[in-house]
């Protein structure tokens, strides 16, 4: 299992044909960003592969990013919310926003809903979620269906699915495909030869 730094250095060595020299134009930060972008695309593909292969609706725990976030009250909507520090991968039923737990009672999990929940379930017995608190995302915020601040919850633990940060660990089976994908993006392509003649050098 390679870390982000190991993968980055491996890709740079391949691109420059040896150790990176000081006047190289390759920025390691750009390589890291690319690795994470390619990995996030792979996570989404893995999710659907899991469903097809084993009817498994989960995602490997190694792609979870966990945060402890403060709960704030929106003065206009009168709803409690948190601000997500990072976008998550969009999966069916918003599963990228995987789990939220109150820090003052970790055994009581909040129930994921969606933005249309309150109108769809209005007046239905199921709308009270069996006295549980629901949550739904709205851009970079996550709102709660109940006033959790008054119930003593000032902080929540959030798990989102996204490959992010220096401590991310990649699936060994996907390392090679990530390297190949990043390399194919980084290797400069020849400009298109738009003039039909016997000269090899591309001509505009």
């Amino acid at each position: 299992m390679a870390s982000l730094v190991v993968l980055r250095d491996q890709i740079i060595r391949r691109l420059v044909g040896g150790d990176q020299i000081s006047d190289s134009e390759i920025d390691p930060r750009e390589i890291e960003l690319l690795i994470l972008q390619v990995a996030n695309a792979a996570i989404k593909i893995e999710y659907f592969t899991n469903i097809r292969a084993e009817d498994n609706h989960g995602v490997s725990g190694q792609y979870f990013a966990t945060y402890v976030l403060p709960v704030t009250k929106d003065p206009v909507r009168k709803e409690d919310y948190i601000i997500l520090p990072q976008p998550y991968i969009t999966l069916p039923r918003d599963k990228g926003l995987y789990q939220i737990t109150p820090m003052n009672g970790k055994c009581k999990f909040f129930i994921p809903t969606n933005a249309g929940f309150s109108s769809l379930f209005h007046g239905l017995a199921a709308g009270n979620l069996e006295m549980n608190t629901g949550f739904y995302s709205d851009r970079n915020k996550v709102f709660f269906t109940k006033d959790i601040i008054s119930q003593g919850t000032s902080k929540v633990m959030v798990k989102i699915i996204v490959a992010i940060g220096q401590d991310v660990i990649f699936d060994p089976a996907e390392e090679e495909s990530i390297i190949k994908e990043v390399m194919s993006i980084m290797i400069p392509k020849m400009p298109q030869d738009k003039v039909v003649n016997n000269i090899d050098k591309p001509q505009e």
Binding site: H57, I111, P112, T113, F121, L124, A125, N128, E130, N132
Partner: protein, 261 residues
């Protein structure tokens, strides 16, 4: 085994059984679980809820939101219930005062205000059961049913969110005892279910999920339906709890001497 389980627990178990690893389908499964629980409560649970209702000035009492059907309506007198009768001819109140408030119909209409045609009876009168001194002779055959002095009620549905009990104007008591079949849901509390129905409701969820699943064969939905009804059958048998002793008791109750000719 606990006597009762929460619907929350049943929903989580159904999610796990269907291969879910998170709670993202919780609300959908809960909706199905409540449908299954409702069916069980209405047809099989034999759970009768009791409530004391207070009658308002227009002789109406608002039934709870989980009311499905009434079992017994009456007035509590000591440790007994004086049962009231049903009267479908009680009117649905439409009379209102200038402020829009409902006004009760009254039975104490002055006799002079009642049309003569209404009072006149066009049939026969029989007096052959008394003698000339008014003493009863017996032989009072074929007389129809009488009236209860405990009052009458009618269930008014579609009158807003909750059904209403409308009482006749002669009922003086303001506190009414009601036994009713509940749909099992209290919006302010967790739903609890008889443990006997746990698996039946789980299979109801599986059936509904299979039924609505895109691309699923009708065979898998039919299979789930079959499993659900099998579990429901088992739950009903357990709830009914008819034992050999009960059967013996019933047979003894209706065993009596017959007159010798």
């Amino acid at each position: 085994m606990d006597s009762y389980v929460t619907l929350d627990k049943i929903v989580r178990q159904a999610l796990i059984a269907n291969g879910e690893e998170s709670l993202h389908k919780y609300s959908r499964y809960l909706l199905f679980a409540m449908e299954g629980a409702k069916d069980f409560y209405i047809d099989s649970a034999q759970d009768v809820k009791t409530v004391m209702l207070t009658m308002d000035s227009v002789k109406q009492a608002h039934l709870p939101s989980d009311f499905v059907d009434w079992v017994k309506v009456g007035i509590a007198i000591g440790d007994r219930i004086k049962v009231m009768g049903v009267c479908e001819s009680l009117p649905i109140l439409t009379k209102r005062d200038n402020c829009g408030n409902l006004q009760p119909y009254k039975s104490d209409v002055p006799i002079n205000d009642i049309p003569v045609d209404y009072l006149s009876y066009g049939g026969y009168y029989f007096f052959n059961y008394t003698n000339e001194w008014g003493e009863l002779l017996g032989g009072l055959y074929g007389i129809g049913g009488g009236y209860t002095d405990s009052g009458y009620f009618r269930v008014l549905r579609n009158q807003g969110n909750n059904a209403i009990l409308q009482f006749n104007s002669d009922v003086d008591n303001t506190d009414v005892y009601v036994e009713y079949i509940s749909n099992g849901f209290d919006p302010k509390a967790e739903t609890i279910i008889n443990s006997y129905a746990e698996k039946a409701i789980q299979f109801y969820i599986h059936w509904r999920v299979a039924w609505h699943k895109d691309g699923a064969s009708s065979g898998s939905a039919k299979e789930s339906e079959f499993q659900y009804y099998n579990e429901l059958r088992k739950a009903r048998i357990r709830v009914m709890g008819l034992t050999t002793r009960d059967v013996l008791e019933i047979s003894r109750k209706y065993y009596m001497q017959s007159p010798k000719m």
